[in-house]
């Protein structure tokens, strides 16, 4: 009965696609090729491919999936608009093209990680593929439980690897490649944390004059933390009200909650300049303050050569707390990530040091106070300002890619079917349309397209960022972190104590670094992987602080604030 219903449905697609079939060149009029025409014409536009190229790519999926027809596979990802589109529109298209039914579950990122860990530990095939953040790359390649996609594509996955996948076209491919040179994850969506500000307020001539008179430099996009602080003070304490509303020069959140940890682990310390020079992450010390030697994490505390409790990290946390207390709305210290996310749209915030571009789609809602009548935003995003320990060549912010991950204990046939779906939702046939829906671009070809040029004025600087070299300098957690799920939970536990005033930044970071060292030591005893942690012996802090690079000694400089106009702030990265 159900089969009959499906046939009737497919027939209706074929009839509707038939109207356009005259345009198809050399396509066999099979049922499935007509279904492909239907999807290309009705949904998968625009694309950087021509219509014929799209149809050829879809024909490859139709042909390659024949051995898997009738299978039902299960995949899981976090709950963002991009994945909603995949789960409800693209999974349907894939099924109608290939006959492989995909249950694409949506849940919290935390739950995705728990499920992935559970599959590894229990050896039960809970899901056939996972989309999880590339922050886990350091965990994955050491675990030996994750399929190295570069090996898979060359061997058992060769017949189901899309010839037009074009790996070099993915902007985040470096983030999902391990020190062993192998690709472990395939990027599916990508977002970045950027400086966010009210371009209309910054363009106000009266405010510009007032700011210049007080600080001696122009009101613009801050290039360093001193300028950010000056602007925060200016709007919170000098301007105070705009259009009868109390306004603030800074927005953040600090509720004792796991999301406080993301604020920090999503690279607050990198902006301050805690790590070493090196991209995508500092080497030998990264922005978590973890030192590696020959790919082996050797410690986070200064006494072991790390920087998590060094002067730069103390400076970073002190600034976080003081800005929160001095310049943010009083409610902010009791807000979590989700609650704070609504604030920029209220029209009372002048700037935010970093803001997740995954919210661009939400913050371009025409009904919001931060939108112009012509559909362009009153706000802009730009590269975030950096702290006084930051040096050229260092990572200066956070970007991440949610990426397809296959586990070794998934049966091969199910891996292959899931790999087909994974490639489908990132294929060039699909990716530009998906980018326009979710605004989480993954491909160079999409971001450079004419379509995105036309869209750019409506996205507040997102396209300009991705077209600049800054996209290489904003990066995810790197391979120095050997157990992301185990270590990430420490952040909010220790930083919350500073926010609550029970510990100073130095005290909390000392405890935090000790906890990380202890965890690394535990991992070293459990793993024989050549890149498993192996703690350095303790040395007096001065030993490490006198070496070049991170951990860095106290910097007593008080740099003057520096700003640039929006265009120059973006061009600085071209």
């Amino acid at each position: 009965m159900r089969g009959t219903i499906r046939s009737i449905y497919l027939l209706s697609l074929i009839i509707s696609a038939g109207v356009n079939s005259a345009r198809v060149v050399a396509q066999p009029e099979t049922e499935q090729s007509l279904v492909a025409q239907h999807w290309v014409d009705s949904e998968l536009q625009p694309s950087t491919l021509s219509r014929d190229e799209q149809l050829r790519e879809l024909q490859w999926f139709i042909n390659s999936s024949l051995p898997y027809q009738g299978m039902e596979i299960r995949v899981v990802s976090e709950r963002i608009l991009t994945h909603w589109y995949e789960a409800n529109v693209l999974a349907k298209a894939f099924y109608e093209l290939t006959g492989i039914k995909v249950v694409h579950e949506l849940t919290g990122e935390d739950d995705v990680i728990q499920k992935l860990s559970a599959q590894i530990q229990t050896n039960q095939n809970l899901y056939d593929a996972y989309i999880n953040d590339s922050d886990l790359i350091g965990t994955h390649f050491r675990s030996e439980q994750v399929v190295a996609l570069s090996d898979f594509m060359a061997n058992e996955g060769q017949a189901v690897t899309l010839p037009t996948l074009d790996l070099q076209d993915f902007m985040g491919i470096k983030f999902t490649t391990a020190p062993d040179g192998k690709l472990y994850q395939l990027p599916d969506q990508q977002f970045v944390n950027l400086y966010w500000y009210r371009h209309d307020w910054f363009s106000n001539v009266a405010y510009q004059r007032q700011f210049l008179a007080k600080y001696g430099y122009a009101l613009g996009v801050p290039q360093n933390w001193q300028a950010y602080e000056d602007i925060a003070d200016f709007f919170t304490n000098d301007i105070k009200e705009i259009d009868g509303k109390r306004v603030y020069g800074h927005m953040d959140y600090a509720k004792t909650d796991p999301s406080l940890g993301w604020r920090m682990s999503d690279a607050w310390l990198s902006m301050a300049g805690v790590g070493d020079v090196g991209l995508p992450n500092g080497l030998p010390v990264d922005e978590w303050g973890i030192r590696v030697e020959n790919c082996r994490p050797v410690g986070a505390s200064v006494s072991r050569g790390g920087a998590l409790n060094g002067p730069a990290a103390v400076y970073a946390i002190d600034k976080f707390v003081s800005w929160l207390n001095l310049y943010a709305p009083p409610e902010s210290s009791s807000l979590n990530f989700t609650q704070a996310g609504e604030w920029p749209g209220k029209g009372v915030i002048a700037q935010q040091i970093f803001w997740y571009t995954a919210f661009v789609a939400d913050l371009t809602d025409p009904s919001l106070a931060v939108m112009n009548e012509d559909g362009t935003p009153k706000w802009r995003v730009a590269p975030s300002p950096v702290g006084k320990y930051w040096q050229k060549g260092m990572k200066s912010g956070y970007q991440d890619t949610g990426a397809w991950t296959l586990l070794k204990n998934t049966p091969l046939k199910r891996q292959q079917a899931a790999w087909l779906y994974a490639q489908f939702v990132v294929s060039k046939t699909v990716s530009l349309k998906k980018t326009l829906v979710g605004l989480t671009p993954i491909r160079h070809s999409d971001i450079q397209s004419d379509v995105m040029t036309k869209k750019a004025p409506y996205l507040g600087g997102l396209v300009e960022f991705y077209r600049s070299n800054a996209r290489e300098v904003w990066t995810p957690t790197g391979t120095n972190v050997p157990d992301y799920p185990g270590l990430s939970r420490f952040w909010w536990q220790y930083i919350s104590k500073v926010v609550e005033g029970t510990l100073s930044s130095q005290q909390a970071l000392d405890q935090f670094a000790t906890a990380v060292d202890k965890h690394l030591d535990m991992l070293s005893k459990r793993s024989s992987h050549p890149c498993a942690p192996k703690l350095n012996d303790k040395q007096p802090a001065q030993f490490w602080l006198q070496q070049n690079g991170s951990p860095k000694p106290v910097n007593l400089d008080e740099p003057k604030g520096k700003t640039l106009p929006f265009e120059e702030a973006i061009n600085a990265w071209y």
């Binding site: 499906r6 789960a87 579950e105 949506l106 739950d111 728990q114 229990t122 050896n123």
Partner: protein
């Protein structure tokens, strides 16, 4: 000499005390939800009761089960050493407050309909135009409501079987093991049109509970997955992991 005797006595006391802690049965708190855990006053039954039985047997630990409402059970476990609660969600907020034995339960949720239904679901979104039955307090009901589905809640899940059979709702969202249990009671056997969500549940133990007990329980749980015990148990309850 006296000093030596005191040291020997102290050591003996410590050894005996450690045996006493080891020997003290772990108190496991759960709540009444058939067919996972329920009691007729004399005998405890259900899938989780069978899991516990095997888990503690393999860990060579004594235990006792007590039924309590979930909120009270969680508060008790936060305060009382040697106490655990299951099944609960292992969230980041809860993570640091307990020692975890996980996953003790893998639940799949499906949308059930009548065999003669003409509605074909490829994705969950295909069910958007229709009313979905669930019950008050159901996590999956909340999940669907969050995504904008029209969810009609009853006071008990059992009522949804009748509503579905009387065609008052086209779909019923239910956990597969519970659904099998309720359908058996109603004398029907329906299959889900779409299995759309998976959840994992854990056992949370007091943070101060002997770490070796928690370690033994976790190792035993994993062995139950690895040797097929849990696969067979789920099959007995009419589903698969």
């Amino acid at each position: 000499m006296h000093g030596t005797r005191r040291i020997v006595n102290a050591l003996l006391y410590l050894i005996l005390a450690s045996f006493a802690v080891q020997a003290e049965p772990v108190k496991v708190l759960t709540y009444d939800v058939a067919p996972f855990a329920f009691t007729n006053g004399e005998q405890n039954q259900g899938l989780l009761i069978e899991v516990l039985d095997e888990l503690f047997k393999r860990s060579e630990l004594e235990y006792m089960v007590q039924f309590l409402p979930l909120k009270r059970a969680i508060i008790s476990v936060e305060h009382d050493n040697n106490t655990c609660v299951l099944p609960i969600e292992r969230s980041q907020e809860r993570e640091v407050h307990f020692q975890w034995i996980s996953p003790v339960l893998v639940s799949r949720y499906g949308l059930f309909d009548l065999p003669e239904s003409q509605i074909y679901l490829t994705t969950l979104e295909d069910a958007k135009p229709y009313v979905i039955g669930s019950f008050l307090g159901s996590g999956v009901g909340e999940y669907l409501k969050d995504f904008g589905f029209r969810v009609e809640l009853t006071s008990s899940n059992r009522q949804n079987v009748n509503k579905l059979l009387r065609k008052r709702i086209p779909f019923w969202a239910a956990e597969l093991v519970s659904a099998n249990h309720l359908m058996k009671k109603a004398g029907v056997n329906l299959t889900p049109e779409l299995v759309f969500y998976t959840s994992l549940r854990a056992m949370a133990c007091n943070k101060e509970m002997d770490f070796k007990k928690a370690e033994a329980l976790q190792a035993s749980l994993l062995s139950m997955y690895h040797d097929g015990f849990l696969t067979a148990l789920y099959a007995k309850y009419g589903t698969e992991i």
